[in-house]
Each structure stands twice: as structure tokens, then as C-alpha cells.
């Protein structure tokens, strides 16, 4: 068994080392990706830095699939996918989050794994894009849907290795509502992905909601009402308005109240729908 270095910041070169140290140090240690969360919230713990593990920053994009390593920064992700119409939600989520400097530091892994961060942008975008996550655990690699992963309590040490997003011929959009024009944690986020057929019907509709609750999640009830249907921004808004307070409980926090997060959801859904419609028209 490898000896744990007597340092408060340990830079590992293999994921298995990170797992090993994490397992043995437990709550006294934390994984450090970009550092933007742990430097504020967990400074007293031992940092296990993943920065020197090769390949974790890799991003590959082809006709079939997008694969993003956990240490890819928001800026790297945005640069890689901008222009891909099916991945527009991810481009927006990665390219408009936080501030320019933070986007160059904060990572995919950090954004998905900092469970106390309720306003993360990448989670709802990747949920809408039907992403899968690949984890390294002490029993080996596991791949599961992001949705299942977020719904599973964190009960054993694991390192997020990469995220896989299937390419589609559809369109996606990401709408994030802030109080100011920039610099806020979003109060509510809607990410939406769908293919719009020539007859105007929606297919493979996926809608995810972030920041309204502590964890981003899919809006399956709204999807069920609208998928395979011909929708307009008004009709999808109406459905969302009818369902919002049944399907979500808005959280009260310092940045905003729950009633407001719910109240704006229909408009955000309508906006996301308008965005993909315009995109589908080639606008």
C-alpha cells in the first residue's frame, strides 16, 4: 500500500492513487479539480489534486459522440462545442457561467461533484443532453446516466473520469436567469434538447431544471406532455405553468426565494423552446 505523503496538497498522477488516498483519509481529504470550490469551502482538508493525471482534460468530438474529461475547464468545453447545434445548451452553460477567469479554472468534474453547490450550470445542460458519466471506484469503472448518478447519494469514494454525450440531429438550448446581467449564481436554469421534425412535432424531448432545487433534475412530467407533440412557445409555457409547482419545490436561499424560482420556470421553458426553434430554422 502506497504511503500517503505528509503534505496538505498531494498531486497524484493516477486516478487509482487519488481513490486510494481518498479512501484512507476519508472526510479529512477532498478531491481538488480547479480549486474554485474547495479553496472557499474546504481549505482545512488535505487536497488531492488531479491536475497532473494525464488525459483527464481531454475533449474529443466526432459525429457520434462528445467525450469530456473531468478536468476540462468550462472555457475548454465551450471552445470545443461551440457551433455544434445539438450541443448549444452545453456551449451556453459552459460559456456563460460565472466569470471569464472562473471559467478558465473551474472544471466539469468540480461542477458536477460539488454537491453543496446548488446553482451549477453544467448539470442541467448535460441532463438535457442525455449524458452518461464514467466513474472510477475502488471496484473499477462504472458508467451510468448522469441522472442516475445525481440521484444516487454519494456513499463511497469515487472519481468522476469523463462524461459522454451522444450526438443527435436535434437542437438544444440553455436558459439561465440571473438578477443582474452577469456575475450571479443563476436563480433558475432550464436546459432543453429536442429534435423538431418538419411537421413541427418535437421528438426526444428532454428538459432539465437547475438551481430551483438543490440538485438539477429532469422534468419528466413536462416532457411527457410535450414529446411527440406539435408545440409552440405559448403552449409549452402553458403546460409548464400548470405543472411547475406540482413537480418542483422551490428552494429558499440567500440568493432568492423558492416562489420566484417556480414563478419564472414557464417563461424560461418558453425561451428555451424559442431558442431551439430558431436554431432549427437555421437562424
Amino acid at each position: 500500500m502506497m504511503e500517503i505523503p505528509q503534505q496538505s496538497l498531494i498531486s497524484v498522477t493516477r486516478v487509482s492513487q487519488a481513490l486510494d488516498i481518498l479512501t484512507r483519509l476519508g472526510e479529512t481529504a477532498t478531491v481538488m479539480a480547479g480549486g474554485t470550490w474547495v479553496m472557499r469551502e474546504a481549505r482545512e482538508r488535505t487536497f488531492i489534486s488531479l491536475a497532473e493525471i494525464p488525459d483527464l482534460t481531454d475533449i474529443t468530438l466526432d459525429d457520434q459522440v462528445l467525450v469530456v474529461g473531468a478536468m476540462a475547464t468550462h472555457q475548454d468545453i465551450c471552445n470545443a462545442v461551440i457551433g455544434a447545434p445539438d450541443l448549444a445548451a452545453l456551449a451556453t452553460a459552459a460559456g456563460k457561467s460565472a466569470t471569464p477567469a472562473i471559467r478558465r479554472m473551474a472544471t466539469l468534474g468540480g461542477n458536477l461533484c460539488a454537491r453543496d453547490f446548488h446553482s451549477a450550470d453544467l448539470a442541467p445542460a448535460l441532463l438535457a443532453l442525455n449524458a452518461k458519466v464514467t466513474l472510477e471506484t475502488s471496484s473499477g469503472r462504472e458508467t451510468l446516466s448522469l441522472e442516475d448518478h445525481l440521484n444516487t447519494p454519494v456513499d463511497r469514494p469515487h472519481i468522476l473520469h469523463h462524461v459522454t454525450v451522444p450526438r443527435t440531429s436535434g437542437r438544444s438550448a440553455h436558459v439561465r436567469l440571473m438578477q443582474r446581467q452577469a456575475g450571479d449564481y443563476p436563480l433558475a436554469v432550464v436546459s432543453l434538447s429536442a429534435a423538431i421534425h418538419p411537421d413541427g412535432t418535437l421528438h426526444d424531448l428532454r428538459i432539465a431544471v437547475g438551481s430551483v432545487e438543490k440538485r438539477a433534475r429532469r422534468w419528466h412530467a413536462l416532457e411527457a406532455l410535450c414529446d411527440d407533440q406539435k408545440m409552440t412557445s405559448d403552449s409549452i409555457r402553458a403546460h409548464a405553468a400548470a405543472r411547475a409547482s406540482q413537480d418542483f419545490v422551490g428552494r429558499d436561499a440567500v440568493d432568492g426565494q423558492g416562489w420566484y424560482r417556480l414563478r419564472v420556470l414557464p417563461a424560461l421553458v418558453a425561451q428555451a423552446f424559442t431558442d431551439i426553434s430558431l436554431s432549427a430554422q437555421g437562424a
Binding site: 438578477q179 443582474r180 446581467q181 452577469a182 440567500v254 432568492g256 416562489w259 420566484y260 419564472v264 417563461a267
Partner: protein
């Protein structure tokens, strides 16, 4: 008073001489000071808003690594304050607010000081805190200051009592008769505003040492002489024992208009014999900010159908927090702002500073003028709706002009507001107040007027004429970012002496070098320090020209100072260099210097009108007209400002480019106040917004280029007829945005900030009004002095 030089010689867009070092990161603010052996201090603060102190035991902290000294309530006997001395340095027997200092620790490193501060044993028996003014004013409310009646009174004349720290009232004419008229329409409005936090990028910070029996205090302050006075009072030492110096300050906006951290550092410096640095963390800075106060306002007006305001009654409750502080003084400004702008047939205004168990409030750029203008202008638009009059027509008809009487009976000089309003109307065109846009948003527009004042008061200046033809200006002025110390002041001195402003050395504030000064803020620097400087220059000129007159065989009145020379008037090249005359003067008399002073001229008010006021009448009013277009998203409540226009009464613009900077910055800060900057106080009596991520100040995307016009020529006793320009840009912003939003959404606005949720609530009809049931419609019941 004719100037001995053409006024244009003082007018220029002089670039600021401190910009280069600031751009290079070389400027050493107080937070950048360090020296070998300097200790670092950290405070232990109460986490209880109200309670009896059972014990503060520093023993465990004293033995911790690096700890050199700890100061507690035993070390600071004095009480200080404004108007009344109610404020101890450390909490004494009780704590009155979350964040109140209990002890400070000096240690070798900051980490050690913080660790030791955390280790102090504190036991407080909590008392149910009084967190709102309504609770504080309730019948039989417990007293936050049970010994209020025994406090030293620093200024006589105000009613006080219970949880009311101070009351200022104005009564002019018979409002009962006015309201009883059968030809008037009665309009009433209630308004509530929250606090605003300054967020200077440099937090409050001080480095103190004790040498030669004196306390040397190097601090980020706007008021070196207040620091000197209050530190002495708190420590119980003579004022001569305190020496205050001030380097470049990284922002103030009024937060640093009080003595704050300095006495703590001074005590520790004395105990340790070492230099001690004390700097607020950002969290401390936010949580103990001397904020612009939250306030509750009730205003009632009796207006004739023709649009004459025959009677106005208003009550303003100002939350001073746990100690009176600036709000005691600011009760004075209600009459001049809420009671300002318009001709009033009769008026009654009451303003009370109310204690609560919350962090004490303070002064912030145009103080209560900002929310009083908001309430007044919203109320004015509501009056216009009630009587069916166009808001611009109403304002034109009623704004104060030459010979009109203000709320306290002062007589205004000159027509300023009306021509400014006309200029706005002519420049910015016709006025569609409300419409729905093609994008589905609700568009609104409004124009508002405002009255503020220049905070005149004592200033002094010395000018030393140097043998090389340069001059040194010695004042207690501080450069907090507006540029006055490095622009308009050297411009004034240079014009007086006929030299270039670059040849005027401006000494940084040092209470051992210059005479007393009220401080930098309140738009006063150019006016008060400028006037004192001008008077000092007059003495220098007179000495210089007496010698030159002999040398050039020409009467003094025929001599001019220009381009570094003493010339015979209208005969350029006829005279000699200023250096030549100085050399001769030094031979005959010694080095030349002059001193000057300035204070409030003292405009009279109507006798008997005002009670509890610090300023009965405004010596130099400053007026503003603002106009804006907004678009409101009815789905989210978000407000976008599409255009913003300012007409500012500057008297004379000495450095127009610098004023532009103040307008752009001040309006942006006002946008934050109007839309985004919200402070909520939780059940622990602490602010929820503790940092930049939760307290939303405007980013580059939240503002826009402000369209502005500098209105010159209004009467002012300031030097060259100037008025201060740094404060007033913020005055009308809350008002203008609120009125425009009200027009856009077709619903009156009665609270700030207009966050998106608040606006959406107004659109949805959720917020039905502000509950000010603790305020009576019968004005006298809201007062101590007039209640039966």
C-alpha cells in the same frame, strides 16, 4: 467677489497624477503597509444580537502561539457618538448587535491572531433582539439603551426617549388648516427602503504605533480629524497625543466618514510597543458595514386641482442600528430633501433615528437624500395621477426658484431647478411615459428632480511658496478616488498663483501638518478645502506682489500672476519670473506662505421652524434632474435601463472629465441601489449578504453610458462658484428608475430595491403595500415633541 485671475485658468481636464502608480500596482494603500516586526490584529465579535455579557475570558487566548496582547472593554473607558455619546468601543455590559466587538488580539501573524480571537471564552445571556423599527417603537418595547437619559449630550435641542435616539422636526405654517380645506385632494403614500452597503474595494484598515508618548495612526479614512478626536475621547487621552496620517484610500463613499478601527489598533500598539495592523476581512466589512440606513416613510399632501401643494406632512423613521451614529445627524437632512424640491404652503416633517439590535448604520453618498428623493418623486407622480396633471408640468410649476422658501424657511437664491428641467425637456424630447414593446416588455419613462447640499464646514489650508516656483498645498484632504485632491485643488491653487498645476505639490493628510478639517465627503472637498486653499493663496499673492511691486515699480493692482511670471497687466514680457520675486522676498522677509480657512457661511432659516437640527438651512444647495427609460420583462420582473440622462448643477465645472467620471460611477452605484443591492437581516440579527457573491453590485453589463449635461451658473459661495460634484450623481437614481418602472407596469412602486422578484410581485399584484401601521396618519402622534 471678483477673482484676481480669469476663472478659465482654473478650468481644465487635468489628468490625475496618481493614475500611473495605481495602474502599475505601486500605490501603497493602508492595506498594503507592512514592516518588519509589524503585528497583525483580529477582532472577536459578538454572534448574538442582544444579550448580557456574563463573561469574556481571554486567558486561553493569551497563551496561544504568537499572541502579544489582547484588548477588551477594560482598555477603552470612553463613549463617543454624534449628538449623543452612546457608543462604547467594545461592548461593555451588554451586546447590542451581531458583530459588536468584544476583544481584539495582536499576534505575529494574522492566522495566529484569528485563532486566538476564536479561542476567547465568551458567555452571553441572550435577550430577545429587537430587529425592526416597528418592534422598537411598540408600546412597552424593551429599551435598547436603558440609560439613554444619562448619556452625555454633545448637541442640545433634540427630543429623545425610549428607543428613539434623536428626533428632528420642522413645522412651518398650518398644515391642519391646509388639509381641512374643501378644495384640496389628499394624497398619501408609504414607502420602505432597505440598506445599501458601500463595498469600497479597500476595506477599513489601520496601522498604528505608539512612539514618543503619542499614537501614530496611519489609516484608510475620509476624516483624519474625526479619527483624532474620537480616538482621544475613547482612549481617554488628550487629542495632542493622537497623530493621524492618510495615504491613498481605496474607496470610501462615506463608510470611512467615521472613526472605526483606529482606537483598537491604537490600544494594541500601546500595549505591545509594536506597530499593529488591523484590517477588516471582507466578511467583517460587509457584516458590520455602516450602511445607508433602512427607512420607513409616510408622506401626505394636500394639493389643489391647479397643482399647488398647500400642505405636506411626513414622517421618516431611520434605523440607526444599535448606536445613533450618523443617523442622529442625518435626521436633519429629511427636511431638506423630503421637504425639498417644491414650494410648500405649509409643512410638518418629523424624522426619528430609531435604535434596533442591528449593526449601526452610517453615511453613504447622499445618505437619506437618496431614499427621500425616491419617496418624494414617487409620491409626486402619484399626486399627478390623482389630480390629472402631467408630471413634467407639475414639476415645472412647483420646483423651488428664486425667493422661494424651503421647508425650514430658508430663502432660495436663483432659478436653478426650473431651467434645468426645461433643459431636460428640450434636450431629451417628448415624454411617452408608458407603452408595451414589440418584444412583449413593458416600457416606461420618468423625469425626476432632486435637492441635496454641499456639506460645508470647517476646513483649513496652508500654501508654501517654494524657491523653485512651485507651491506646496497642505490640507487634511484625502484622495478617496474622486480625484479632487489631485485635480481641482491643485488647479485652483495653480490658477491663483499663475503656475501650472503640476507645480503644485499636494501634501497627503497629516494632522500634525495641517489644520482641522471636517473631512472628505458630502461633496465638500472642492468647495470647503478649495475655498480655504484660495484664501491661503490670497495671502501668498499679497506677500509676493508686495515685493514684486517694489521690484517692478508698479502698483500691486496692476500686476498679474500667469505662466510662472509676475507681469504688468496687459504688458506680457514686462515683468519677471516668479522665482526671481520669491528669491527677493526670501532675502527681505523670509519664505512666503499663506493660510486660509473656510466654514459654513450660515444661511438663516425661519426661526422656530426646526428643532433637533444640525443644519437649519442649506448653505449651498445642489440640484439634479434625472430622466430614464426602462424596459420591464413581465415574465421575470427584470428591469433593463435603456437610457439614462443627467443634468447636474455644478456651479462651475473645474475638471469636466473628472465630473463625468463621478456621474458615470455615481449613477451606476445608484442603479445597484435601485435594482440589485439588497440586504436582509436574519433572526440572528446578522446580514444574510456577507460577500460579493451574495451582495450584488453592478457589473459592466449592468450599466450603460450616462448621457449628461453639466449645468453651470447657479449661485454658489464655493470658490469660482463651484459646487461639489462627486456625491449628487446618486441622489435621483432610485427615484427615477422607480418612477419609470411604476409607469411601465402601471402600478405604484413603494419599496426599493426593485429586484426582479419584487417587480414581478408588483406585476402579479402580490405586494399590496408596505405595512407601516406603526406610523400614524396623525403627524403629531409620530413625534415625541408634539405628541399630547
Amino acid at each position: 467677489m471678483t477673482l484676481p485671475y480669469p476663472p478659465n485658468t482654473a478650468v481644465m481636464n487635468l489628468p490625475r497624477r496618481d493614475a500611473k502608480d495605481k495602474l502599475l500596482g505601486r500605490t501603497r494603500y493602508t492595506v498594503d503597509e507592512s514592516s518588519h516586526g509589524m503585528l497583525h490584529a483580529a477582532a472577536r465579535r459578538s454572534e448574538t444580537a442582544s444579550g448580557r455579557i456574563v463573561k469574556i475570558d481571554v486567558t486561553p487566548a493569551l497563551s496561544m502561539p504568537g499572541v502579544k496582547a489582547i484588548a477588551t472593554r477594560e482598555d477603552a473607558p470612553g463613549l463617543h457618538g454624534i449628538g449623543i455619546a452612546d457608543h462604547p468601543l467594545f461592548a461593555k455590559d451588554v451586546v447590542r448587535y451581531h458583530g459588536e466587538p468584544l476583544a481584539v488580539v495582536a499576534a505575529t501573524t494574522l492566522a495566529q491572531a484569528r485563532a486566538a480571537a476564536a479561542a476567547i471564552l465568551v458567555e452571553i445571556d441572550p435577550i430577545a433582539p429587537i430587529l425592526t423599527m416597528a418592534e422598537a417603537l411598540a408600546k412597552d418595547a424593551p429599551l435598547i439603551h436603558p440609560d439613554w437619559a444619562s448619556y452625555e449630550i454633545l448637541r442640545e435641542g433634540a427630543a429623545r426617549g425610549g428607543n428613539i435616539a434623536w428626533e428632528a422636526t420642522v413645522v412651518r405654517g398650518d398644515t391642519d388648516a391646509a388639509f381641512a380645506r374643501d378644495d384640496v385632494i389628499l394624497v398619501e403614500g408609504t414607502y420602505r427602503v432597505g440598506r445599501q452597503s458601500h463595498v469600497p474595494f479597500e476595506p477599513r484598515a489601520v496601522v498604528a504605533s505608539y512612539e514618543d508618548g503619542r499614537f501614530h495612526i496611519h489609516t484608510s479614512t475620509q476624516v483624519p480629524w474625526t479619527v483624532r478626536h474620537v480616538t482621544a475621547k475613547i482612549l481617554g487621552v488628550p487629542e495632542t497625543a493622537i497623530h493621524v496620517t492618510v495615504p491613498a484610500v481605496g474607496g470610501g463613499f462615506g463608510l470611512k466618514f467615521d472613526c472605526s478601527l483606529e482606537p483598537f489598533a491604537a490600544i494594541l500598539a500601546h500595549k505591545t510597543g509594536r506597530k499593529v495592523s488591523l484590517v477588516n476581512s471582507r466578511r467583517e466589512e460587509q457584516m458590520t458595514c455602516l450602511s445607508r440606513e433602512n427607512a420607513d416613510i409616510l408622506i401626505r399632501s394636500a394639493v389643489t386641482p391647479e397643482g399647488d401643494i398647500v400642505g405636506r406632512e411626513a414622517t421618516v423613521l431611520m434605523d440607526c442600528g444599535a448606536y445613533g451614529g450618523e443617523q442622529v445627524f442625518l435626521t436633519t437632512m429629511t427636511a431638506h430633501t423630503l421637504g425639498g424640491n417644491y414650494r410648500l404652503g405649509s409643512v410638518k416633517i418629523a424624522s426619528q433615528a430609531v435604535y434596533t439590535n442591528t449593526p449601526p448604520n452610517g453615511a453613504f453618498r447622499a445618505c437619506n437624500g437618496v431614499y427621500n428623493t425616491f419617496a418624494l418623486e414617487c409620491h409626486t407622480d402619484e399626486i399627478c395621477k390623482a389630480i390629472g396633471m402631467d408630471p413634467l408640468t407639475f414639476r415645472r410649476r412647483n420646483v423651488v426658484g428664486d425667493g422661494d422658501i424651503g421647508a425650514t424657511g430658508q430663502v432660495f437664491e436663483g432659478d436653478v431647478l426650473r431651467p434645468m428641467l426645461d433643459l431636460a425637456i428640450d434636450t431629451y424630447g417628448p415624454h411617452e411615459r408608458a407603452k408595451k414593446g414589440p418584444d412583449g416588455r413593458l416600457y416606461g419613462r420618468a423625469t425626476t428632480v432632486g435637492t441635496w447640499f454641499i456639506f460645508v464646514g470647517p476646513s483649513s489650508a496652508t500654501v508654501n511658496l517654494n524657491v523653485d516656483g512651485s507651491a506646496t498645498l497642505v490640507t487634511s484632504g484625502v484622495e478617496i478616488g474622486s480625484g479632487t485632491m489631485v485635480q481641482s485643488l491643485p488647479q485652483i491653487v495653480a490658477a491663483n498663483l499663475g503656475i501650472h498645476p503640476d507645480a503644485v505639490i499636494v501634501k497627503t493628510a497629516d494632522t500634525d501638518a495641517s489644520g482641522r478639517d471636517l473631512g472628505v465627503g458630502g461633496g465638500r472637498t472642492t468647495v470647503s478645502i478649495g475655498a480655504a486653499s484660495q484664501e491661503a493663496c490670497a495671502e501668498v499673492r499679497s506677500k509676493l506682489l508686495a515685493v514684486a511691486s517694489q521690484m517692478l515699480q508698479t502698483p500691486q493692482d496692476d500686476l498679474v500672476l500667469a505662466q510662472g511670471r509676475v507681469e504688468i497687466r496687459d504688458r506680457p514680457g514686462s515683468g519677471t519670473t516668479i522665482q526671481t520675486v520669491i528669491a527677493q522676498a526670501e532675502l527681505e522677509h523670509g519664505p512666503i506662505s499663506g493660510s486660509g480657512a473656510f466654514t459654513a457661511p450660515g444661511i438663516p432659516a425661519m426661526p422656530g421652524c426646526a428643532a433637533g437640527h444640525f443644519i437649519d438651512a442649506i448653505d449651498i444647495p445642489v440640484f439634479a434632474v434625472h430622466d430614464c427609460d426602462v424596459a420591464v420583462d413581465p415574465d421575470t420582473g427584470k428591469v433593463e435601463i435603456l437610457a439614462y440622462r443627467v443634468i447636474q448643477d455644478v456651479g462651475r465645472a473645474l475638471n469636466p472629465r473628472a465630473i463625468h467620471g463621478q456621474i458615470q460611477g455615481g449613477v451606476t452605484q445608484g442603479i445597484g441601489y435601485a435594482l440589485h443591492e439588497e440586504i436582509t437581516i436574519n433572526a440572528e440579527g446578522a446580514f444574510d449578504q456577507t460577500c460579493f457573491s451574495s451582495y450584488r453590485i453592478p457589473t459592466a453589463l449592468d450599466t450603460l453610458p450616462i448621457d449628461y449635461h453639466l449645468y453651470e451658473g447657479a449661485p454658489s459661495c464655493g470658490p469660482l462658484g463651484t459646487k461639489g460634484a462627486g456625491e449628487v450623481p446618486i441622489l435621483n437614481v432610485g427615484a427615477t428608475i422607480a418612477c419609470a418602472v411604476a409607469n411601465a407596469i402601471g402600478t405604484p412602486v413603494n419599496a426599493l430595491p426593485l429586484t426582479a422578484p419584487r417587480v414581478l410581485g408588483l406585476i402579479d399584484g402580490l405586494s399590496l403595500g408596505v405595512d407601516l401601521s406603526h406610523l400614524s396618519r396623525h403627524w403629531h402622534e409620530n413625534t415625541i415633541a408634539f405628541s399630547k
